[in-house]
């Protein structure tokens, strides 16, 4: 996905000039992210609420009387003013109550829990694939000028294969023609689940892995020609020493960032892949709930995706501050 593939770089954080160190830290790592999550969830909540289509249409079927519909709307609080509804949802969410699904008539948290597990396994597998492929191939591309063109070409191609095209291709080849893998479902039990989720994980990971390969390769490549690396060479340091302590150590920062962002974006990527493979994770749930205008579910899932993203980027930020002495001690 793009946004997926175009996902790049860390959102530049504000460097606020707050006087007190503790305030500044809290600002960067707590208040900012929380504000972002709140704003994002409110935006989504508001936009969705304002969208056309009456959820009651599905709840009561076509033959219900107008008064029954009206009563249902009141019961669900659909006619309350927007801020009130959001506040209601938010306070509930803070107490662990994400509301009740309109279509499934059960608590959103009950809907989410099993699907989160599925999505988590899928995303986890994809993350492993991405990190392994990205770091290994990227490392080869970054260090070996001989292999670099091939690695770059592979990555360039991989980035251009959207998950949904990969999905179709993989199903046709590995599931239908070769019959090695199932085409859908999440499976049950550990190995069965892995087996079911292999193709989806591959489809999900292609674009991201290619992106990571590029980032890794170029981070290492750039670092390898940095002047301080030249100094190291000029001092007769062994190649492996220079590679580990100067190239890898320094390239680790951008690579870590790219890896983190990739993994953070995976949950969103699952939105495309899950429905295509008939996997009932939170991605499929989101798509279904959007068309049913099941706004408690959509808001919860969206908030979850945004939260994962924000938490990961915040951690990355913190990680950078830890790893980079220039940031650590101020300037």
């Amino acid at each position: 996905m793009s946004v997926s593939t175009s996902a790049a770089g860390v959102p530049a954080r504000l460097r606020t000039s707050w006087r007190h160190p503790a305030t500044a830290l809290a600002m960067t790592y707590v208040v900012g992210p929380v504000l972002t999550i709140l704003c994002a969830s409110f935006l989504l909540f508001a936009v969705l609420t304002l969208s056309p289509g009456d959820p009651v249409a599905q709840l009561l079927g076509p033959h219900a009387s107008d008064s029954a519909r009206a009563a249902m709307r009141v019961r669900l609080g659909l006619d309350d003013p927007l801020p009130e509804r959001y506040w209601h949802w938010l306070t509930g969410a803070l107490h662990g109550d994400l509301g009740t699904s309109l279509t499934y008539r059960e608590p959103v948290s009950d809907l989410l829990a099993p699907r989160l597990l599925t999505t988590f396994v899928l995303v986890g597998m994809a993350a492993v694939l991405i990190l392994v492929a990205g770091l290994v191939l990227g490392g080869i591309g970054g260090t070996s000028p001989r292999w670099r063109p091939l690695v770059n070409a592979l990555a360039g191609l991989g980035i251009a294969v959207p998950a949904f095209v990969a999905t179709t291709f993989l199903i046709s080849v590995f599931a239908v023609n070769l019959g090695w893998f199932p085409t859908g479902g999440a499976g049950s039990g550990f190995t069965d689940r892995l087996w079911h989720l292999t193709l989806p994980a591959i489809a999900l990971s292609i674009g991201y892995a290619a992106y990571l390969i590029q980032m890794t390769s170029s981070a290492i490549g750039e670092e390898a020609v940095a002047e301080h690396v030249l100094t190291g060479r000029g001092r007769g340091l062994p190649g492996s020493w220079v590679f580990r302590r100067h190239i890898l150590r320094n390239a680790a920062l951008p690579i870590l960032t790219a890896s983190g962002l990739t993994v953070a974006g995976l949950v969103a990527g699952a939105v495309v892949v899950e429905p295509a493979f008939g996997i009932d994770g939170i991605g499929s749930l989101l798509i279904r709930s959007v068309s049913a205008k099941d706004y408690p579910v959509v808001t919860a899932v969206s908030a979850l995706i945004v939260t994962v993203f924000v938490v990961v980027t915040t951690l990355l930020d913190a990680g950078q501050h830890l790893l980079d002495p220039r940031l650590r001690k101020g300037r």
Binding site: G234, R235, K329
Partner: protein, 331 residues
């Protein structure tokens, strides 16, 4: 070791670029540095000074190639095996760069930086190396050396960092030091101090020094002999005193003449035109276009270095223009 000079360059040429457009950066350079001798290499920006040093350490980028002979203590540097090269770089020579900040790894401490050369080369154990580094720092007047070891490059001023570069260069007790414009980025007062330290240490240890600068006055003050470069070639070579007081090449003379005097207000005598790079010169003397004495011959044939009055000069018309040159400089 006998009489062979420490470093000897014979007919060194450097080209760079890809197959379709290769450029000559340095052409046919001869240069020697004897043990305990300080040789100055001066020339304007782009004349190929840094490239020459890099080639002497075999640090040229991949797309650049060296031709000719480079011998260190009679052994061909260009023919070194990997291990020999590593030993050569770690024990025999050291390089001090113009921009210390770019040449130190921002993510590692000064301590790591100082000792890694000797530790990786197994010349000293880590603890011993740190002690030696502290001793050396103290000797060149750096206060609180222990604390400095734990600091990061960004926490040090440029002058201090350049002194650290000197410490790092001297720690493995090399025989020859390349100093590539070590003070260009520094204030005059700091420059004076850094130069004093460098000179002191070089003299104390009786090391060879190839000192690169575009400041003729500075080079003249600290070196025993001088080589003047223009457009990738050495145009004049001799003892500092002679070259400085009585230049034989029109370019050297022009350089001396165009420096504003620190003591008197005079109308300057600039060299017309602009400095060119080696690849911009087709045939003939590179300086011909700017030389007031140039003749048809100068424009056609490239003059070779030849011995004139104990000196090497690359000019067809040395004999004819000697008197006029003296006037140019001293009027």
């Amino acid at each position: 070791m006998n009489n062979a000079p420490l470093l000897e360059l014979r007919g060194v040429g450097i080209t760079a670029g890809d197959r379709r457009n290769r450029r000559t950066l340095v052409r046919d350079v001869d240069l020697t540095v004897a043990a305990g001798e300080t040789v100055g290499l001066v020339g304007e920006s782009g004349s190929g000074k840094s490239m020459l040093v890099k080639s002497a350490m075999r640090l040229l980028p991949r797309h650049a190639a060296t031709s000719g002979r480079i011998d260190f203590e009679g052994r061909s540097v260009l023919g070194f095996s990997r291990r020999e090269l590593s030993a050569y770089r770690s024990r025999d020579v050291a390089l001090i760069h113009q921009d210390p900040r770019a040449h130190t790894n921002p993510l590692r401490t000064i301590g790591d930086f100082l000792v890694e050369g000797v530790v990786a080369g197994k010349l000293l154990g880590p603890r011993e190396a740190r002690q030696r580094a502290c001793a050396l720092m103290a000797a060149i007047g750096i206060t609180d050396p222990e604390h400095r070891l734990t600091q990061y490059p960004h926490q040090l001023s440029g002058g201090l960092l350049q002194r650290m570069m000197i410490v790092a260069a001297l720690l493995p007790s090399p025989k020859l030091v390349f100093a590539d414009e070590p003070t260009t980025a520094l204030d005059v007062t700091v420059q004076s101090e850094v130069m004093a330290i460098l000179q002191e240490q070089i003299r104390e240890r009786n090391l060879g020094l190839l000192f690169i600068s575009h400041d003729l006055d500075l080079a003249a003050a600290v070196t025993d002999s001088l080589a003047v470069m223009y457009a990738g070639t050495v145009v004049e070579r001799g003892t500092t005193a002679e070259v400085y007081s009585r230049p034989l090449h029109p370019y050297t003379a022009g350089l001396l003449a165009c420096r504003p005097s620190a003591t008197a207000v005079t109308r300057l005598k600039p060299i017309p035109g602009r400095p060119v790079s080696a690849y911009e010169v087709a045939s003939g003397c590179a300086f011909a276009a700017r030389c007031p004495f140039a003749t048809e011959e100068c424009r056609k044939d490239r003059p070779q270095l030849r011995t004139v009055e104990d000196r090497l000069v690359a000019c067809h018309r040395v004999e004819q223009i000697g008197a006029e040159l003296a006037q140019v400089v001293h009027s």
